[in-house]
């Protein structure tokens, strides 16, 4: 049945999601950090994890940004085809971003042009993806993506005949090259298949999956576990001080691809992985 909502509802929801994402660490990520702290034996790594956990506690209590890099705002709108939004949907979402960054005292990190580089002072524009799905609801997902880890993310087009082990090597090397820059322990999102852009898109979507959960496909779940083990064997450790946890988890999403290709994208996300989601 057709349903009508006002675009203001989109604005409010997007605003609330970004405020929550930037100040309240995801419970699954926090649980992952606490588990890592419990397992860690190296003194410096334990100290770093203690500070990271206490940071989440302070941020939540004071409604303060978990990390000063409150990121570039990415918004995913899955709009039910029987839903009518009164007003301008994309403008409403962007307004929600601007309000969240102002109200939340978040840093404005967006420049107007990649070469001219003048701060827009609103954290606008966001990146908005839309999708049409059945139903009369709208699903809104947001990511506040910091660039310390964005800068070390990588994509490569493999040969279709390359073994899964070469993908493992690619991901492990990406993390090795990144070192402690992306704020380990990280959550690694990987997209495999589709086209160049689809693989990148999947790698971002992958970090929405609850930490600790593996792919429903057995061969992919195996690959996730194997990559996690190899990344942790790098012993980069929390903030690079060494130790047993360099990554909290690995999440892979796949899509059918072309006979001639095997695109792979690695999206490294810091220990302050900031995503939120709501359906209205």
């Amino acid at each position: 049945m057709t349903r009508i909502i006002d675009a203001n509802l989109i604005t409010d929801t997007v605003k609330d999601l970004f405020i929550k994402a930037n100040t309240c660490l995801r419970p699954d990520i926090l649980a992952g950090l606490k588990q890592a702290r419990k397992n860690e034996t190296k003194e410096k790594a334990r100290y770093a994890l203690d500070v990271i956990i206490k940071n989440a506690f302070i941020a939540k209590k004071k409604m303060l940004a978990i990390c000063q890099d409150t990121g570039m705002a990415v918004v995913y709108l899955k709009v039910g085809q029987s839903l009518i939004v009164k007003g301008d949907l994309k403008k409403a979402a962007a307004k929600g971003v601007a309000l969240a960054y102002k109200k939340g005292y978040f840093r404005n990190s967006i420049v107007n042009d990649p070469l001219v580089r003048k701060n827009t002072n609103t954290n606008l524009p966001p990146i908005i993806y839309t999708d049409i799905v059945p139903g009369n609801k709208i699903n809104i997902k947001v990511v506040a993506k910091g660039f310390g880890c964005e800068n070390v993310s990588k994509t490569r087009m493999f040969r279709p005949t390359d073994p899964a082990s070469s993908i493992e090597g690619f991901v492990v090397d990406a993390m090795k090259d990144a070192g402690s820059g992306p704020c380990p322990p990280v959550y690694i999102g990987i997209g495999i298949g589709g086209t160049l852009d689809k693989a990148v898109f999947l790698s971002r979507e992958a970090i929405f999956r609850r930490l600790g959960k593996n792919s429903k496909y057995k061969h992919i779940a195996r690959l996730e576990k194997s990559i996690l083990k190899k990344v942790n064997n790098l012993k980069i450790g929390p903030i690079g001080v060494g130790g047993s946890v360099t990554a909290l988890g690995v999440s892979i999403l796949t899509y059918p691809t072309h006979i001639a290709g095997l695109p792979v994208s690695v999206n490294i996300s810091c220990h302050a992985t900031r995503t939120q989601e709501a359906t209205i």
Binding site: R37, Y47, V51, L64, Y105, C183, G240
Partner: protein, 177 residues
Amino acid sequence: MSPFAERRKVNTMRKIVLPLTKDIIKTLKQGEIVLLSGPVLTARDAAHKRLRDALKEGKKIPVVLKGETIYYVGPSPHRKGEVIGSCGPTTSSRMDPFTPLLLKHGLIGMIGKGERSKEVNLAIKKHKAVYFITIGGAGAYLSEKVKSAKVVAYKDLGPEAIYRLEVRDFPVIVGQV
């Protein structure tokens, strides 16, 4: 586990009073955790580019680098009554192309996150300077270690302006000496 477990560790850490001197730096060991108290300047990408351009053109720069410590940070705004918003380190390697020049002009300490280039590590040794690593992504925690903050140059750069911060018991790990 208590969220305050880090406090027990903090009580036993060595404290360093800023500004740094070559004599203090001599005593620092790579990998050692220390707590810094005193004044630091902030600067990140855009401010570094301006400093470099001015120095190359022989112009006067708005800060004195001699004996100074720079913290690579672009803080988030603060609420009324607070000193500073979230203020964790940004990736230091982006400042690598500018660092040897600043060291030549007297910069003695740096605070950031991540590894530095070979060239920068050599320059740090040559100038008897130090690179500290602090806890990336812990901007809320670190904001409690900042006691005052004031913009001193390049105000138009917003979060990328140069601030003078006064820090107390600010935790860092000696990355390179």
